[in-house]
């Protein structure tokens, strides 16, 4: 029981920038993440939707305790392959601010598909106060804006190690992680073996969870990536064909000039 409480407290703070985020300008050293093979990489990449769905489970059960995802609505989950009914149920399980009642007291209501993801904290200040002084970053575009991208997110999530002798974090209570800036991070190790239960029966190892949630974050950062690539191939082929026709036409028109 105690472990469960600890886990849920520890759950959040995924991928937080190093403490003292305002000093972002300085060079901050960290280990270089090993490049991974991702389904979404490359000009024709598309998402492994099973991994995205499992990653959403990790996000919902772990990350969302501390990290907001302000750009997303519950309805957006329809495009990872969930049915409208599943989306409705997920939304309804979340309670979002619902204005005030007749006496002026704030009330909540079950969310709908059109609602944005519930924010874990009422304000940035509250988020910072609950997380050792550093507000957990919003995850809507994290895979795009985090230096190092998905490779480093995966490396960071699986990279917690016992601190080497002599490691003194600049921020008391920070953890050692060679992939974090300056090798320290305020976020406690968020993932553990068996932490989430996957609906598709996949064994939830830490590495599996990290891989799935990274895929989910990459999807959330670029939800239209696969559609973009598919449309891109069609448009490019069409234009190439058109270019050939236009070139032949031009040659024919100009044949009496030279």
């Amino acid at each position: 029981m105690r472990a469960a409480i600890l886990a849920s407290v520890a759950a959040g703070a995924l991928l937080m920038a190093a403490p003292g985020g305002a000093a972002h300008g300085q060079e901050r050293r960290h280990a270089v993440a090993t490049p991974q093979t991702w389904s979404f990489a490359g000009p024709l990449g598309r998402f492994d939707m099973a991994a995205v769905q499992r990653g959403y489970a990790v996000y919902a059960q772990v990350c969302s305790a501390c990290h907001s995802m302000n750009g997303m609505t519950y309805g957006d989950l329809a495009s990872i392959g969930l049915t409208d009914e599943q989306v409705r149920q997920i939304a309804a399980s979340q309670h979002v601010p619902g204005g005030m009642d007749a006496r002026g007291a704030p009330v909540t209501r079950p969310a709908t598909a059109a609602d944005h993801f519930r924010q874990p904290f009422a304000s940035v200040e509250a988020a910072a106060a609950a997380n050792n002084g550093t507000p957990p970053p919003d995850q809507s575009r994290l895979a795009l804006v985090y230096p190092g991208g998905p490779d480093r997110i995966y490396a960071l999530l699986t990279g917690y190690r016992p601190a080497p002798p002599g490691f003194v974090p600049t921020n008391a209570g920070a953890f050692y992680n060679p992939y974090a800036s300056n090798s320290e991070i305020t976020m406690p190790p968020p993932l553990h073996d068996g932490q989430v239960e996957y609906a598709d029966g996949t064994t939830a190892t830490t590495a599996q969870e990290a891989r799935d949630v990274t895929t989910f974050l990459a999807w959330a950062a670029q939800p239209h990536l696969a559609e973009r690539h598919r449309l891109g191939v069609q448009v490019t082929l069409y234009l190439l064909f058109l270019a050939v026709l236009a070139f032949i036409l031009k040659r024919k028109v100009w044949s009496d000039v030279h």
Binding site: T73, V233, A246
Partner: protein, 411 residues
């Protein structure tokens, strides 16, 4: 039934609605005269495609921009979220926005090619001065429009870009701080400035369309210049615009559309600055504030001069000096093809401009500072020294008698 005036309107012999309209407003015969039978020099090369390309990109920008504006909230509190909603929840919103953002970059790219073409082939010379001046006015207007547009998503780069622009205004002696406060509507970019940028972006975009009409009208008064810079002297030197240049422009447009599509669909990372996907945070300065690539040469000029105000003067002056080019260049020869000194000078100018862009990227630090100063010195020397002197340096130039004879000679 008849009055004195109505007798002057003679309906076309074919009759019908088109002839009726044409007798009252000559849109049909006007179009035929200016876009079908229009005599065009027969030797235009691919660089002459970019006028048509720019027109089409401008229309694409206006079309996508209107749909984006309808879904955009011009407030500091709501702008970022409204852009996220366009990208995520608005059907095809991501595509509209990607086309608009890519279009902005490619518009500036095509504009630079178009400008370079005009400089290289002497298209600014008598009798095309007004054509040149309206074109430069368009360049300035497009730059303001592009900058204002970049601020609108209110991400980190938007905010801090606006902040750098404000600081540049602040560098003006005496009135600078007051002017910055006045233009920004506060001490830092905020709600008021964002609203103004939105209005500026929208109004300027349509003003650009208006000036394009003037630019094209001026073009059709003088006719196009050409790679030889020799005026067409008769039918042997020209081709009708249609079908010759309509078919040629079509090829250029489709190839340009291909580049556009590859950027939109496969390389959006080149067009979108990742840092701008973070919402504006006035308390957190990004590590590296850098404008879009098309402003980098001017950013390089700004930083190459030791004094802030001096840098501002250099950057603004680098555009203003272009307005004087028709009068700085006294050589009667238009095309750089026949001007050995000017041709080398043009090459050096392009190199300087690109170098200044790299200097801007590297914040004029270390050796880049020296490179920046040399390139900046050449940029101004090219216009203020080389152009006035080139007439004396280039003697004995023999131009072809006509375009046709020049082409027969294999020039």
């Amino acid at each position: 039934m008849t009055d004195a005036g109505s007798g002057d309107v003679t309906d076309g012999k074919g009759g019908g609605a088109a002839a009726w309209l044409d007798a009252r407003l000559p849109v049909v015969s006007g179009f035929r005269q200016e876009y079908i039978d229009y005599p065009t020099p027969r030797n235009l090369n691919g660089l002459w495609n970019f006028g048509a390309i720019l027109t089409v990109v401008l229309l694409v920008m206006l079309a996508t921009g209107i749909f984006l504006a309808v879904n955009y909230t011009p407030t500091a509190g709501g702008a970022f979220a409204s852009v996220e909603a366009i990208e995520r929840q608005l059907p095809s919103g991501w595509l509209l926005r990607s086309i608009h953002v890519t279009g902005a970059s490619l518009f500036l790219a095509a504009l630079y090619v178009h400008l370079f073409r005009g400089l290289y082939y002497g298209s600014y010379k008598r009798p095309r001065e007004v054509l040149w001046l309206t074109g430069l006015l368009l360049l300035v207007m497009v730059m303001f429009t592009a900058f204002a547009g970049y601020v609108l998503p209110w991400g980190q780069m938007s905010y801090w870009g606006a902040d750098v622009a404000g600081k540049a205004v602040d560098a003006i002696p005496a009135i600078g701080p007051w002017l910055e406060h006045f233009l920004q509507g506060g001490d830092a970019p905020g709600d008021v400035s964002l609203h103004r940028f939105f209005v500026l972006h929208f109004v300027l975009a349509f003003a650009v369309l208006g000036v394009v009409v003037l630019h094209v009208a001026a073009l059709h008064v003088t006719g196009s210049n050409n790679p030889m810079g020799v005026e067409p002297k008769g039918p042997r030197d020209t081709l009708t615009f249609h079908p010759y240049y309509t078919s040629k422009d079509a090829v250029g447009l489709i190839l340009f559309a291909l580049l556009f599509a590859v950027l939109v669909f496969f390389l959006p990372g080149l067009m979108f600055e990742a840092e701008n996907f973070r919402p504006a945070n006035p308390l957190h300065t990004p590590a590296d504030i850098e404008p879009e690539w098309y402003f980098l040469p001017f950013y390089g000029m700004l930083q190459s001069v030791p004094s802030k105000f001096g840098g501002l003067l250099a950057a603004v002056g680098s555009i203003l000096v272009l307005f004087l080019v028709p009068w700085l260049d006294t050589s009667p020869v238009r095309s750089a093809r026949y001007r050995p000194v000017y041709r080398v000078g043009m090459g050096a100018l392009v190199v300087s401009f690109i170098l200044l862009g790299l200097v801007g990227r590297h914040h004029a630090e270390g050796g880049w500072m020296i490179v920046g100063r040399v390139a900046l010195a050449y940029y101004f020397a090219h216009f203020l020294v080389l152009l006035p002197l080139s007439k004396r340096l280039e003697r004995g130039i023999i131009l072809p008698d006509s375009i046709a004879s020049g082409m027969d000679a294999g020039a």
